[in-house]
C-alpha cells in the first residue's frame, strides 16, 4: 500500500517535471500565460473592491475579513487546480484516444491524467490568492493565538483536498458524458466563487446544502469562523469548525468510488 502510494507519487513527480521542462522551453508564452492567470484572478478581487466602494460591510463582514475568505478560497482552488486541474479535460482526452495510450503504461491512469500537461503557470492564481491572503492576515486586527495560527495551514490543506475531490468527481462524470466538462465548473469555480463571500449572504437552506450535501462550506467558511471569531449562522456545535478533515475524507472516498466506477465503465464500453 505504502509502496504503491510512493510509486504513484514519484510517477506523478516525474511526469509533472517533464511538463515543466516543456513549458520552460516556451519562456515568453509561459511568462505571458502566468501573468494572464495572475491578472484574471486579480480582477476577480478588484470586482470585490468595486463592491466595497459602494458599501462598508457585506453580510456582516468587512473588506479585510472578506479578503481572508477570498484568499483562503483562491489558494485552496489554486493548489487543487495546479495539482490536477487538467483532469477536467478528460472528455477531450477520451475523444482523442489519449486515455487508451495511458492505459498501456504501467502507471495508474489517475496519476497520468492528473499530471498530463502539468502547468506551472497556474502559480499565477496561487500567487494572487496568496497576496490577498497575506494582506488580510496583516491587516486583520486579531489576537493571533497558537490555535488561530495553526488553523491557517489546517484550512489550506483540507480545503485543497476538498477541491481535489470535487475536481476528480467532475472529471469522472465525463466517463459517462464526455461533453459535460462544463458541469464540473459549477462546483469547482462556482464553489470557489461562492466561498469567497461570507455564507451569511446566502439563504439558510443554501448554507445547509453547502455543509451537508456539497461540503464547500468546509473549505474555508468553518475554519474562518474560528479564526475570525464570528458567529455561525447555522448555530452548529463548535466542533463543526474543526470538521474539515471529516468532510474532506468523505468527499475523497466518494471521489475515489466514482472515479473507479467511471474507469470500469470506460473499460467495459470503450467509449
Amino acid at each position: 500500500m505504502v509502496d504503491r502510494v510512493a510509486a504513484n507519487v514519484s510517477a506523478y513527480a516525474l511526469l509533472a517535471w517533464m511538463w515543466i521542462r516543456v513549458s520552460l522551453s516556451y519562456r515568453t508564452s509561459f511568462a505571458l500565460l502566468t501573468a494572464g492567470q495572475f491578472l484574471i484572478t486579480g480582477l476577480d478581487f478588484v470586482a470585490i473592491l468595486v463592491m466595497f466602494s459602494n458599501v462598508d460591510v457585506l453580510g456582516g463582514f468587512s473588506l479585510t475579513e472578506i479578503a481572508f475568505l477570498y484568499g483562503g478560497s483562491a489558494l485552496c482552488l489554486g493548489f487543487a487546480d495546479l495539482l490536477l486541474g487538467n483532469i477536467e479535460r478528460l472528455g477531450q482526452r477520451i475523444r482523442l484516444g489519449t486515455v487508451d495510450q495511458m492505459l498501456v503504461r504501467p502507471l495508474s491512469l489517475f496519476v497520468q491524467v492528473c499530471a498530463d500537461e502539468f502547468a506551472l503557470r497556474r502559480l499565477g492564481r496561487i500567487t494572487q490568492g496568496g497576496l490577498v491572503f497575506a494582506w488580510s492576515i496583516y491587516a486583520l486586527d486579531l489576537d493571533w493565538t497558537a490555535a488561530r495560527v495553526a488553523m491557517v495551514p489546517y484550512l489550506l490543506v483540507f480545503g485543497t483536498v476538498i477541491f481535489l475531490a470535487i475536481f476528480t468527481i467532475g472529471a469522472a462524470v465525463q466517463f459517462w458524458t464526455a461533453e459535460s466538462s462544463e458541469l464540473a465548473n459549477a462546483f469547482t469555480y462556482g464553489g470557489s466563487t461562492l466561498a469567497q463571500f461570507p455564507m451569511t449572504i446566502y439563504p439558510v437552506e443554501a448554507i445547509k446544502a453547502l455543509t451537508f450535501i456539497v461540503p464547500i462550506a468546509f473549505v474555508n467558511w468553518y475554519p474562518s469562523l474560528f479564526i475570525l471569531d464570528k458567529p455561525d449562522p447555522l448555530h452548529l456545535p463548535t466542533a463543526a469548525q474543526f470538521a474539515a478533515p471529516v468532510a474532506a475524507a468523505l468527499l475523497t472516498v466518494a471521489a475515489a468510488g466514482i472515479w473507479r466506477t467511471g474507469v470500469r465503465r470506460y473499460r467495459s464500453t470503450g467509449s
Binding site: 494572464g36 484574471i40 466563487t193
Partner: protein, 270 residues
C-alpha cells in the same frame, strides 16, 4: 445583393444547427450558468441591502442584471469561442488561404456564422438560466413592446461589437501564429469591462464613465440598462447609437486588418 444576403442566412442557419448538436454540453452549460446566476444574485442582494441605491439600481434591478449577465455570457462569447476561434484555427493550419480566395467577404461570412451561433446560445444558454432566475427571484422586465424591441436590437449589436473584438484577436494569429496569449488577455478584459464581474455603474467616480465608453460596455451594460428602462426615449437611441458606433469602428478595423493579412498571405504564402 439578394443572393449575398441569402448566403449569409444559410451560413448563420448552418452555424446554428452545428451548435445545436452539442446537447449534453448545452445542458451542462445551462446548469453552470444558473449556479453562477444564483451566487452573483446573492452577492448583489447583500450589496444592495447595505446600499439600496448603489449605482442608481434598486435590488431587483441588480438581481435582474445578474441574470441578464448569465444570459449574455455565452451569447456574446465573453470567454471567446465561436466563429472567430475557427478563424484562428484556420490561420494556424494555413487553411485560411482558401477562405481568402473565396468570392465572398470573409468578414461577412464569419459574422453570419457567429450570429447563427449567438442565436443558438441566446435561445438555450441565454433563455434557460433567465427563466430559472425569474422563477427564483422577482425580476424587472421591459415595460412595453418598444423596450423589448430596443433590447432585441441591442442584443444583436452586443454580438456584433463582441464579434469585432474577437475577430481582431483571432486575426492577431496572422502575425503571432498563436493567439492563445492574446485571447486569454482579451477574455480577462471582456469579463471585467463588460460588467459581468460587477456592474459598470458600481465603478467609483470617473472609472465608471471610462468603463462605460469602452466597447465592452456594449456587451452587457448597455443592453441591461435598456431592459431595465434606464435609457428612455432619445437616451435609448443614444445607447443603441453607441453600440452602432463601436460596431462600425471595429468592423472597419477588421476589414483593414484582413486586407493587410490578405496581402501578407499572398506575398509570403502564409
Amino acid at each position: 445583393m439578394r443572393s449575398t444576403v441569402s448566403l449569409w442566412f444559410a451560413v448563420a442557419h448552418r452555424s446554428f444547427r452545428r451548435y445545436s448538436t452539442y446537447r449534453a454540453a448545452t445542458f451542462a452549460g445551462i446548469f453552470t450558468n444558473s449556479v453562477f446566476g444564483l451566487i452573483i444574485s446573492f452577492t448583489y442582494i447583500a450589496v444592495w441591502k447595505q446600499n439600496p441605491t448603489a449605482g442608481g439600481y434598486d435590488v431587483a434591478d441588480a438581481v435582474t442584471y445578474a441574470w441578464l449577465g448569465q444570459a449574455m455570457i455565452m451569447t456574446v462569447a465573453v470567454w471567446s469561442g465561436g466563429a472567430t476561434d475557427d478563424l484562428a484555427a484556420r490561420i494556424k493550419t494555413g487553411d485560411v488561404a482558401i477562405d481568402l480566395y473565396r468570392p465572398v467577404s470573409l468578414l461577412g461570412w464569419y459574422l453570419a456564422s457567429d450570429l447563427g451561433r449567438a442565436g443558438y446560445h441566446l435561445l438555450t444558454r441565454g433563455l434557460a438560466p433567465m427563466i430559472f432566475g425569474a422563477l427564483v427571484f422577482d425580476l424587472h422586465y421591459p415595460a412595453n413592446a418598444l423596450v423589448w424591441a430596443q433590447f432585441a436590437v441591442s442584443v444583436v449589436l452586443a454580438v456584433t461589437v463582441s464579434f469585432g473584438v474577437r475577430m481582431l484577436v483571432s486575426a492577431s494569429a496572422f502575425w503571432l501564429l498563436d493567439d492563445t496569449g492574446v485571447k486569454h488577455l482579451a477574455a480577462v478584459f471582456a469579463m471585467f469591462f463588460s460588467g459581468l464581474a460587477v456592474p459598470l455603474v458600481l465603478f467609483p467616480g470617473w472609472t465608471s464613465d471610462v468603463a462605460q465608453a469602452l466597447p465592452w460596455a456594449a456587451y452587457l451594460q448597455v443592453p441591461a440598462d435598456i431592459w431595465l428602462g434606464k435609457h428612455q426615449g432619445l437616451d435609448a437611441l443614444a445607447a443603441v447609437g453607441f453600440q452602432v458606433l463601436w460596431t462600425v469602428v471595429l468592423l472597419l478595423t477588421c476589414h483593414l486588418v484582413l486586407a493587410r493579412a490578405n496581402r501578407k498571405v499572398v506575398v509570403h504564402g502564409g
